[in-house]
């Protein structure tokens, strides 16, 4: 019997569509968010599996389980999948789509159809990326950075992979555009800019980067294609081109891309800490504005990837200087998060554990970034496993752990079911330990001179690699346990209720799962977003 006073939730209400079509042709932001969740999780597992196999190859010096060509293809494909299909869309596409409209009191994003188009572009790009691995002359072996002239000369399937990244770029641009307009035009009455919650703030800063920076990488990747097909001579010196030009163009996008991943992650953490501390966020404006500062200064630091490329001496110190400046707004956020806990009433639940471990891992990632931003030390550790460890602490320890935090925080809202919290905490502990055992040794062997993207290595690095490989398998165990625990809520979940954590932002004022229209009546906002009691 249908209860006519309660509207159907968005999962029950298929809007007149059947089966899978209720998903893949839905323009409901919540359904699109879940489409992304499923696709991104799938690719995360594929990328993770490739990473695990690479770690297995490196368990001992010499060839163990795969040939060098396979290894080179694996780290390329691992990078392409993880960067373009997982972490760049990541939090924005999944939780941004699902929660941005709800958190600002809207019924959907500004352009629901474009939103669906973004997902379709994502899928098209993903299929192209997969095709590039299997069709034609073998998986690309250039690294996800596609450095010229290697990428313009390699006999492997580079064009398809590059074109995939190009299509994925459009998906990202459209999502960014959609979010900007949504935030500008669709906030609930009374929600001034400084009454907007901080996850939407972080998405706003991110969206500007997506819109402004992504076209640059799109053009750059097309130049690679043109170079390969028509021998134009942009980048290949044997055709009169300049390989350093490619690096500039590539990093003009790909450095800000780091902020496309990490800003929404910071936004998630900023939501979770007040909820579980039962306390208003410390320094609301400082956190909101620091997102904007990171997005703005982050455009001008790309050259720190190129200190040893032969760039001019002036450019090198200029980029180093700005790189150090951009560290400050991140530090400000960390101080404010910790200050929020002061005199709170802290309920240590699974999302909070992920958020607190995010802070720890993000600090390690950020502080080791200072070693890479500094000129003298970067000369030594550039292109070593120190860099690999650093960006995995930022991307995986940062964005990845924020994603895990978000899924544990919002899953009960999205599906109305609560997972087994004890098992979730065990999975957290295994994941956290595995992560550090996997990546920390790479800092040490990196400082000792272990270059990255090496199929084989000198005997003195064996211990570090061995420990790291063991860590990889601990980490995978934790992740599988986590996914199992979440998936099992479908049958065994307990009803979560409207507000299981005692949160105060708008998503906790509507039923779980939310109805299609989100709000029966659009709320009027009269208070700052984190008003407890």
């Amino acid at each position: 019997m249908e209860n006519h006073t309660q509207p159907l939730d968005f999962i029950q209400d298929k809007q007149g569509k059947k089966g899978i079509f209720a998903w893949i042709f839905s323009t409901d932001h919540k359904r699109i968010g879940i489409l992304y969740l499923v696709s991104i999780t799938t690719f995360f597992l594929v990328g993770g599996l490739l990473g695990g196999l690479m770690r297995l190859e490196l368990i001992a010096p010499g060839e163990t389980v795969m040939s060098p060509q396979t290894y080179n293809a694996f780290f390329t494909v691992h990078g392409i999948i993880m960067i373009f299909l997982v972490v760049i869309p990541g939090l924005g596409a999944v939780f941004g789509n699902f929660f941005l409209p709800i958190m600002i009191g809207a019924r959907d994003v500004a352009f629901p159809k474009i939103n669906l188009l973004s997902w379709w572009l994502y899928v098209t790009g993903a299929i192209l990326a997969l095709l590039s691995q299997f069709a034609g002359n073998g998986a690309p072996d250039t690294g996800w950075t596609f450095y010229a002239p290697y990428s313009t000369e390699s006999g492997t399937n580079v064009v398809a992979a590059v074109f995939a990244a190009f299509v994925l770029g459009f998906s990202s641009i459209l999502t960014g555009l959609n979010f900007i307009v949504t935030i500008h035009r669709m906030r609930a009455p009374g929600m001034s800019w400084f009454r907007m919650p901080l996850f939407p703030w972080s998405l706003y800063a991110t969206a500007w980067i997506q819109v402004l920076a992504t076209p640059i990488v799109g053009i750059t990747l097309m130049m690679i294609v043109a170079e390969r097909l028509f021998q134009i001579g942009f980048f290949d010196p044997s055709l009169g081109g300049d390989p350093i030009l490619y690096q500039h163009l590539f990093w003009i996008y790909s450095h800000p891309a780091v902020y496309i991943m990490i800003l929404p992650a910071m936004g998630v953490i900023t939501e979770i800490i007040p909820t579980f501390s039962k306390k208003a966020i410390f320094g609301y404006k400082a956190i909101a504005l620091s997102s904007i500062a990171i997005a703005a200064v982050g455009y001008f630091v790309w050259g720190h990837h190129m200190y040893t490329s032969g760039m001019s001496t002036t450019a090198r110190w200029f980029f180093s200087f700005l790189t150090f400046i951009v560290a400050v707004p991140s530090a400000i956020k960390v101080f404010n998060w910790v200050a929020t806990m002061y005199k709170g009433s802290i309920d240590v639940r699974t999302p909070f554990l992920y958020a607190a471990s995010f802070i720890f891992l993000f600090m390690i990632g950020g502080l080791t970034g200072l070693v890479l931003g500094s000129l003298a030390t970067d000369v030594h550790v550039h292109d070593t496993s120190f860099v690999v460890a650093h960006f995995h602490y930022i991307i995986f320890g940062g964005m990845g752990f924020a994603f895990f935090a978000a899924i544990h925080y919002w899953w009960p809202k999205m599906f109305g079911k609560m997972y087994d919290e004890r098992r979730a905490n065990v999975a957290w502990l295994i994941t956290f330990v595995g992560f550090n055992v996997l990546y920390f040794p790479l800092f040490i062997i990196g400082v000792q001179g272990m270059p990255r993207r090496y199929f084989d290595y000198l005997p003195q690095f064996h211990m570090g690699h061995l420990i790291s490989t063991i860590g990889a398998f601990i980490l995978l165990t934790g992740i599988f346990l986590m996914i199992y625990n979440i998936m099992r809520t479908k049958k065994h979940g307990t009803p979560a209720g409207m507000n299981p954590w005692g949160g105060v932002t708008l998503e906790w004022t509507i039923p779980s799962p939310p109805p299609v229209e989100n709000f029966e009546e659009i709320p009027t906002i009269t208070k700052p977003p984190y008003t407890f009691e």
Partner: protein, 309 residues
């Protein structure tokens, strides 16, 4: 262990690099420990069971200013040390000895001022050395971890690095920029020896005697020997040794076919390397050289391969 490595002074660059490393490392460790400890203390001290009611605090402008300005000052200190350790790397002393470095897939050649070419980097102790870095194909990066130096060898560009080796011994020379199949095997040794020994080593060079046959010169200049060995060992492609005149199974559009390796086959393999690939070797790794080599060059190569019995 890390400390020992960090404070060894194998080159004059070590001090600047390691000092800025230690400055950044100490400040970072202090903050990492301090913030983590504070966080854990808050979580324990203000846990729900002990502190059931939160005290609402919106923020503090004083604190915001403090934790903006203090990190700003500290990162400027870090920047300064990094800059100081780096700036000497770009200022080459006038009396530096020049060595030309050619990187190619997947080996290094070190060419000295008198024309001597070595596979290993011999260095006189306490003498400034400038390495002029060139690449014949893709980007490589010359990296000597013990010396704390690294600079890319970029095709079409002249990069450089300099240093003074200060401790006798042998050190690893690696390639740090990913350059394809045998990237991790692109290594050499830096051998630091006393000046007198170095002078003897350098003088032991007889261009007339060691002159390579023309065909071999061309093979080396085009980095062919990175994939095709001259001694029968299997690299990416088939070795040239003893290859002339024998029969080989090749794949033509997926079908096996037996060919005799004669002049025609060798020339075809240079011009269309992927048309008839020897079985068990990867296709599409090699590019056509028909635009790179002249017909005479190709002839010289074939003549040379004939001599490799």
């Amino acid at each position: 262990m890390i400390y020992l490595q960090i404070f060894s002074g194998a080159s004059n660059m070590v001090e600047g690099v390691d000092r800025s490393f230690m400055v950044i490392f100490s400040i970072s460790l202090f903050f990492l420990m301090g913030i983590t400890a504070t966080m854990i203390y808050f979580i324990v001290r203000y846990r729900k069971t002990r502190n059931p009611k939160a005290t609402q605090i919106d923020g503090s402008n004083t604190l915001e200013i403090i934790w903006t300005v203090v990190p700003l000052i500290l990162v400027m200190v870090m920047f300064f040390y990094g800059y100081r350790g780096y700036v000497i790397m770009r200022e080459v002393p006038e009396d530096a000895m020049n060595i030309k470095v050619n990187g190619y897939m997947w080996d290094w050649d070190f060419e000295y001022e008198n024309g001597k070419v070595s596979k290993d980097l011999y260095l006189p102790i306490n003498k400034p050395v400038k390495l002029n870095l060139y690449s014949l194909d893709v980007i490589h990066s010359l990296y000597i971890p013990a010396f704390r130096v690294k600079e890319d060898a970029v095709p079409g560009k002249e990069n450089y690095m300099w240093f003074t080796a200060q401790l006798e011994g042998e050190y690893e020379v690696l390639c740090a920029e990913y350059c394809g199949l045998r990237h991790s095997y692109m290594e050499a040794k830096a051998v630091v020896i006393p000046q007198e020994k170095f002078d003897t080593w350098l003088a032991d060079y007889h261009p007339e005697l060691n002159k390579d046959p023309r065909g071999l010169e061309i093979l080396k200049a085009n980095a062919c020997t990175g994939c095709h060995s001259l001694d029968g060992s299997k690299l990416v492609g088939p070795s040239f040794k003893g290859i002339f005149g024998i029969q080989r199974i090749v794949l033509v559009a997926g079908k096996e076919k037996t060919v005799t390796v004669d002049e025609d086959y060798l020339l075809k393999s240079i011009k269309e390397p992927n048309a008839e690939v020897v079985k068990d070797y990867p296709a599409n790794v090699m590019q056509s050289y028909s635009k790179v080599l002249t017909n005479e060059d190709m002839g010289e190569i074939v003549t040379y391969i004939k001599t490799l019995k």
